[in-house]
C-alpha cells in the first residue's frame, strides 16, 4: 500500500533505512519539513501522522504504508495560510524560520490535543479538563526548539489562535 502525504499517494520503494523525514524531503520532494538534529531532540521535523504529531526523523518510511501524513505544505499555502501560519507572521514568531514548519505542525496538533481533553505534566488535575494557559503552551511545545529564541512570540501566536491568555 502507498503512503498518503497531503492527500497524494506515494509508493514506498525505498531502502529500509530511509527515515520518514528523508522520504518526505528526498523522495516526495516536500522540503518544508526540516532536518535539525535528526535525533528527536529539536522538533524541526515534526509532521502529523494520522493526525498526531511525531518526529519524522525517528521513524522509518517503510513502517508507514497505508498511513496518512500531513506536512506544513498540507496545512496552508501562501495564498491561503492556516490560521497558525498567519498568526506566526503577525506575531513575528520566528527569526531564521528553520524551526517554523515544525513549530506550526506541532501547534496544530497541540490544539487538537487540548480539544480532545489531553492533560499535561503542568495541569493541576491530571484527570480534569485542560485549560490552555501560557504555562501549558510552553510545556506542550517543549519538543520544538527555536535556536533564535523567538519563544515569546511563538507562544503569543499560538495563544491568539487558541483564544488563550499567554
Amino acid at each position: 500500500m502507498p503512503i498518503t502525504i497531503n492527500g497524494v499517494d506515494h509508493a514506498l520503494d525505498v531502502d529500509p533505512r530511509t527515515s520518514l523525514l528523508d522520504f518526505l524531503r528526498r523522495d516526495a520532494g516536500l522540503t518544508g519539513t526540516k532536518k535539525g538534529c535528526d535525533h528527536g531532540q529539536c522538533g524541526a521535523c515534526t509532521v502529523l501522522l494520522n493526525g498526531q504529531r511525531i518526529n519524522s526523523c525517528l521513524t522509518l518510511a517503510v513502517m508507514h504504508d497505508g498511513d496518512s501524513v500531513t506536512t506544513i505544505e498540507g496545512l496552508g499555502t501562501p495564498d491561503a495560510p492556516h490560521p497558525l501560519q498567519a498568526a506566526f507572521v503577525r506575531h513575528d514568531g520566528y527569526q531564521c524560520g528553520y524551526c517554523t514548519p515544525g513549530q506550526i505542525c506541532s501547534a496544530k496538533a497541540m490544539l487538537d490535543e487540548i480539544a480532545a481533553g489531553w492533560t499535561s505534566y503542568v495541569s493541576d488535575d491530571v484527570a480534569g479538563t485542560p485549560v490552555l494557559t501560557g504555562e501549558e503552551i510552553r510545556e506542550r511545545m517543549s519538543g520544538n526548539v527555536c535556536r533564535c529564541g523567538a519563544y515569546s512570540n511563538i507562544v503569543a501566536a499560538i495563544a491568539e489562535v487558541a483564544g488563550a491568555q499567554a
Binding site: P16, G43, N55, L60
Partner: protein, 327 residues
Amino acid sequence: MKPFDYQRAHGLGEAHQLLVADRARPIAGGTNLLDLMKLEVETPSALVDLNRLPLGGIEPRGEGLHIGALVSNSACAADPRIRSQYPVLARAILAGATFQLRNKATTGGNLCQRTRCYYFYDLAQACNKRAPGTGCAAVGGFNRIHAILGASDACIATYPGDMAVALSALDAAVEILDAKGDKRHVPVRDFHRLPGDTPERDNVLEPGDVITGVVLPAPVGGTQLYRKVRDRASYAFALVSVAAVVHLEDGVIARARLAFGGLAHKPWHDPRVEQLLEGQAPSDALFDEAAILLLDQARGQGSNDFKIPLTRRTLKAVLREATGGTL
C-alpha cells in the same frame, strides 16, 4: 546506519520466529532504537516490526486493567481510567519526553528503553553495556547522571524512564509471551536488572520473548504523586524522581508505596522504607528516618554525589505533600 533486513510480523507466532534470529530486534515506536541505530550503538541484523500485531487496547483485567504493549504513551496517559484511577501513572508518563515522542513511544518499548549514559552513546569510549569486557569509562569520568544505588564496578548507568517508576509503585506486572507460546507475568519490580557483571542485559527478557502488555492491579486510591527533578523544567531525564501512593487514615500512614527513578539501573523500590512509614504519624523526623534508610547503601561517584541529598530532600517533600503538609 548499518544495513538491516526489515520484516513485518503479521502475528505473534511469526514475531517469535523472526526474533529468535541472531541480532534481530523488535521495533514498535522506534524512538529510542532508531536513535541508537543512527549512532551505530545498536546494529541489528534485522528489525521485526511489531506495529501490526493486535496489542493496542486498554481492557479490564480482573479488577484492574491490561494495557496492550502497543498502546502509545500518549493514549495511556489520556485514558480516562488511567487518569482517574491510576493518576501516578498518567503523571509519570506526562513527565517524560515530549508529546511528539509520546505519540510514537509504546508501553512495551518504553519499558525497554536504554540508558542515556554518555559513554554508552560514544563508540570511542569503554562501555561494558555496549561492548562487554571493555570497561566502564563512566567510573572516574563525567558521571553526573549516574547511579548512587545498586551499581557495580562494571556499570554505573541508570535506567532513564518515568513510566516504569510509577508502574513499580503500583506493583504492576509485565506480560510476556515466550518463543514457545507460553505466557508469564513478571512484576515490574523484577523486570529490570541490576548491572552486576552483565550490564549488557537491561532486563529479564530472553531471545524471542515479546512483551504483550502491562497488567495493573485493582485501583488503590490514596494520594498519588510523581515528582521529577531535572536540569530543565520540561523534556529532560530525571536526576531524581519519586512515585508515591500514600494512604493516610486517622492521622496515620496506613499504606505507602514508593519507587524512585534516576538512582539506579532499574526503578528503585525498597520495601524497608514502606514498612518504616506504615502505621506511623507523619512527621519530619519520620521522613528523615525514611530517607536515611533509603540511602543507607548509597554511594556517589564524584560528579553525582549531589544526588544523595537531592534524593533525601525530594523524598521528604513528596511525603510532606502526600500527607497533607506544606512543601
